[in-house]
């Protein structure tokens, strides 16, 4: 019981929390873009799976991790294009299409994986922690925060960049307007459809990246259903974060902490709680969050609604 509160435990916890939060950070920041433009993509889970698989396949073939990440983004965006076509161009219901894409993502990646990879059972080289001079050597802090791989570090950059784009550029301004009053954007001479496509592509690209991190920066293998609900948790993160990219970063960290805690408590022999209960922790927290934050709040007012042109 003593080592639960030891510094080593805390440092390991913090380190694992950030690492486990990374896929959530990418996916939820992406979803912030999508939802700010009025498109609710519940197909994140499927999209992340596709990203995880594409990343794994590309890296397995080339041994090149950046290429793998790129493939993950591309796979996610391809999926996003399908989603955008049905929801924005055809104006099909966003929930139905999102649900279909989740099923498709799960089935497709499982099928391809079984066909091409499962017999080889071969893992890949994953991104290694980067040693930052001085910082990584700090007592406690170094171990807690500065022994990560580049993909994990990049989440900070992505969050800051996302906030700058959303709040400081003409693109971001228009995007925020598209989710609130698309007609005003139309009248101002910008294409609502174009912006929604762009938002969905940013969103699914980042979700794909989050998926690819799972196979390229976390585990060294693709496993069927490797995302295990992270796509759905990312949706909850967006609500909790009140549709802000920086908020999504920190809320994801909080959820990462639940994941890490769950894993590390399982490893504690002295804890007698059944491990299934611990495993459920992140999901229980998701439900608690959504219930606690029910109601409209700061949601974009046209979230989920197709735009009828004049």
């Amino acid at each position: 019981m003593d080592d639960m509160i030891s510094l080593t435990f805390l440092a390991a916890l913090a380190s694992a929390a950030w690492r486990l939060a990374t896929p959530l950070i990418f996916a939820s920041i992406g979803e912030v873009f999508s939802e700010r433009a009025g498109v609710l993509n519940i197909g994140l889970e499927g999209t992340m799976l596709v990203g995880a698989f594409c990343g794994f396949a590309a890296a397995a073939a080339t041994g090149n991790i950046p290429l793998g990440l790129l493939a993950g983004v591309a796979g996610g965006m391809l999926f996003g294009l399908v989603f955008a076509f049905f929801t924005i161009t055809i104006k099909a219901d966003q929930i139905v299409v999102g649900a279909a894409l989740n099923l498709l993502g799960m089935g497709l990646t499982a099928f391809l994986f079984r066909t091409y990879y499962v017999s080889t059972g071969k893992g890949i080289e994953i991104a290694q922690p980067v040693h930052i001079p001085w910082l990584s050597d700090l007592p406690f802090l170094g171990e807690a925060f500065f022994r990560q791989n580049l993909i994990v570090y990049s989440t900070v950059l992505v969050a800051i960049l996302a906030a700058l784009v959303l709040y400081r550029t003409s693109f971001g301004l228009t995007l925020r307007a598209v989710g609130e009053h698309p007609k005003a954007v139309d009248v101002a001479g910008r294409s609502v459809v174009g912006y929604r496509y762009a938002a969905v592509l940013v969103g699914t690209g980042l979700a794909g990246l989050g998926g690819a991190f799972l196979t390229l920066g976390h585990s060294n293998q693709f496993v069927e259903g490797i995302t295990s609900g992270r796509g759905f948790i990312a949706l909850a993160v967006v609500v909790f974060a009140r549709w802000s990219p920086i908020g999504a970063f920190f809320v994801s960290l909080l959820f990462g902490l639940f994941y890490a805690l769950q894993l590390m408590l399982q490893a504690q022999a002295s804890i007698v709680v059944p491990y299934q209960v611990l495993q459920a922790l992140p999901y229980i927290m998701t439900i608690v969050t959504l219930v606690a934050l029910r109601g409209k709040g700061a949601a974009p007012s046209k979230l989920g609604q197709p735009y009828e042109m004049r």
Binding site: S170, T174, R176, E180, A184, G189, R190, R310
Partner: protein
């Protein structure tokens, strides 16, 4: 005025599926004039002007502007040619600042927003020049409707225009704000701009225009100079026949108190206080009006009275029974009728037939149902009778009510509510969306109900409607009743001050 028109619209046609919105419209606008476009709801005014500002593309016909034939594909094209329109429904993004709204869509999409201080300065300068009182850093959703409208007008000026089109701008304003807007239109013309003013209010149109064009059924029926016409003639052109502007009213002392509201408070759906301690009585045989700019708690008051919104405190007494917080079905059963503001949300079910809509509250009662089964024959007869008495224009009673025009839907709602033989009738926006002919009819019907001893509470933003039939008018502002006035047009100024929240200085107008 120049010989060549500034803007010429030539034989424009536009249809939306089966609806012909523009049926060969021709119109000429001179440079530097205020040209009013007058017409009933649905006459095709907004669609016509939307075609000039690039929002809607005409099917046929020509638009010649400054001597050149133009064909806009988006409002941006029109802005580039210095044509701007302030729409009936504002085109402002509520969660952005005023300045952000102004730069929306400007510059390259990839550009970083950096020149905000310049933009703010430009907005302040324009705001001062036209005394519009617009703050560039204000968030739009925090502004009142009147303020938002000034923001819209300034937006168009900010983009730089020669032709300004205002679509029913006064519908949401107090009389004072309306005065201010009308004088602004004069200032703009002095600055060399041309204004098209869309309205269905005769008095305003008579006050500001140089020329007036009247639209009916998708056509311009006539264009007249303001000095050569009068309100009666204009009204006749709008409707296509003579209209009685005054309704005869029998003076009769009101009877016992039917509805009594004591210190009622409730919150809007957003959780903000909307009705703050309203008390009022409505007696048998009187029509009590509630005037006010929309958004001052009228919606919530009517929803709370009819049981559609929870009451925080206070009491509602109907015929001596406390009905506070009862559900709508119970309230309805106590001879309470409700003609709602938003008929699609609270009045009718669009996909259902006229018959089904007439029995919405009584489908399980005799004679409409026996033993749990609907009695189709009785329902059909009942509906046909209402259709005939209220002159609801429809194919038959089995048609979905969605197929009817707004005015005819409203007539059916009125018919249904009166057929339930109520003691008290709550009306919110009696004549919304209906034409003058139908309006006259439902107003006369309300007076008949009054004379037969029913108590009526009429909430309206249309002062004409209130003056025409009310026995007294209460003014609502920020969720409170600020005062009471007789329905006397001579005291319009006082009414306006109350509507603007000026409680302490009655009769100080001008």
């Amino acid at each position: 005025m120049s010989t060549k028109p500034f803007l010429r619209i030539d034989n424009i046609r536009k249809r939306f599926g089966p609806i012909i919105a523009s049926d060969g419209v021709s119109l000429e606008i001179e440079e530097g004039e205020i040209h009013s476009l007058l017409g009933e709801n649905g006459a095709g005014k907004s669609v016509l002007m939307s075609m000039i500002c690039g929002m809607v593309r005409p099917d046929e016909g020509d638009i010649v502007y400054k001597g050149q034939s133009v064909r806009f594909t988006s409002p941006r094209d029109a802005i580039r040619e210095r044509i701007g329109m302030v729409h009936q429904h504002f085109m402002l993004v509520p969660n952005l600042t005023v300045a952000e709204n102004y730069i929306l869509g400007q510059g390259s999409a990839l550009s970083v927003i950096s020149n905000m201080t310049t933009v703010h300065r430009k907005i302040r300068a324009l705001s001062e020049r036209y005394a519009l009182d617009v703050r560039p850093e204000a968030i739009v959703e925090d502004l009142s409707v009147g303020e938002q409208q000034r923001v819209e007008i300034l937006k168009v000026l900010f983009h730089g225009i020669d032709l300004l089109i205002l679509d029913e701008p006064t519908a949401v304003l107090t009389p004072q704000e309306t005065d201010r807007l009308l004088s602004l239109m004069g200032d703009l013309v002095k600055d060399g701009k041309t204004v098209v003013f869309i309205s269905h209010k005769l008095d305003e149109v008579m006050r500001v225009s140089n020329r007036i064009s009247v639209m009916r059924d998708g056509r311009v029926v006539n264009t007249v100079k303001v000095g050569e016409t009068n309100a009666r003639e204009l009204a006749r052109m709008m409707v296509g026949r003579d209209v009685r502007m005054e309704l005869p009213r029998s003076p009769k002392p009101p009877g016992r108190i039917v509805l009594s509201v004591e210190n009622l408070t409730c919150r809007a759906e957003t959780g903000l206080p909307a009705v703050r301690g309203v008390s009022l009585d409505v007696r048998a045989g009187e029509i009590v009006g509630i005037a006010g700019v929309s958004g001052n708690g009228q919606t919530e008051l009517s929803l709370a009275l009819s049981g559609l919104l929870p009451v925080d405190s206070g009491r509602v007494i109907l015929n001596g029974n406390d009905i506070t917080g009862h559900d709508p079905a119970k309230i309805n059963a106590r001879r309470f009728s409700h003609i709602p503001e938003d008929r699609h949300k609270h009045g009718i079910v669009l996909p259902l037939s006229l018959s089904e809509n007439t029995i919405l509250q009584r489908y399980n009662q005799k004679p409409f149902a026996t033993g749990g089964m609907l009695n189709r024959r009785v329902i059909g007869e009942h509906t046909r009778d209402l259709i005939k008495r209220f002159r609801v224009r429809s194919r038959d009673e089995n048609q979905p009510i969605a197929a009817l025009s707004g005015g005819n839907q409203q007539k059916l709602v009125v018919a249904r509510e009166l057929a339930r033989d109520p003691d008290f009738i709550l009306v919110n926006q009696l004549a919304r969306g209906i034409d003058i002919g139908a309006m006259e009819f439902v107003m006369e019907e309300m007076l008949r109900q009054r004379d037969s001893g029913r108590a009526i509470l009429l909430i309206s933003t249309e002062l004409e409607e209130l003056f025409a039939i009310c026995d007294r008018i209460l003014v609502m502002f920020h969720g409170e009743i600020l005062g009471e006035l007789p329905p006397d047009r001579a005291r319009l100024d006082e009414l306006g001050l109350l509507m603007a929240g000026n409680k302490d200085q009655p009769a100080l107008a001008g």
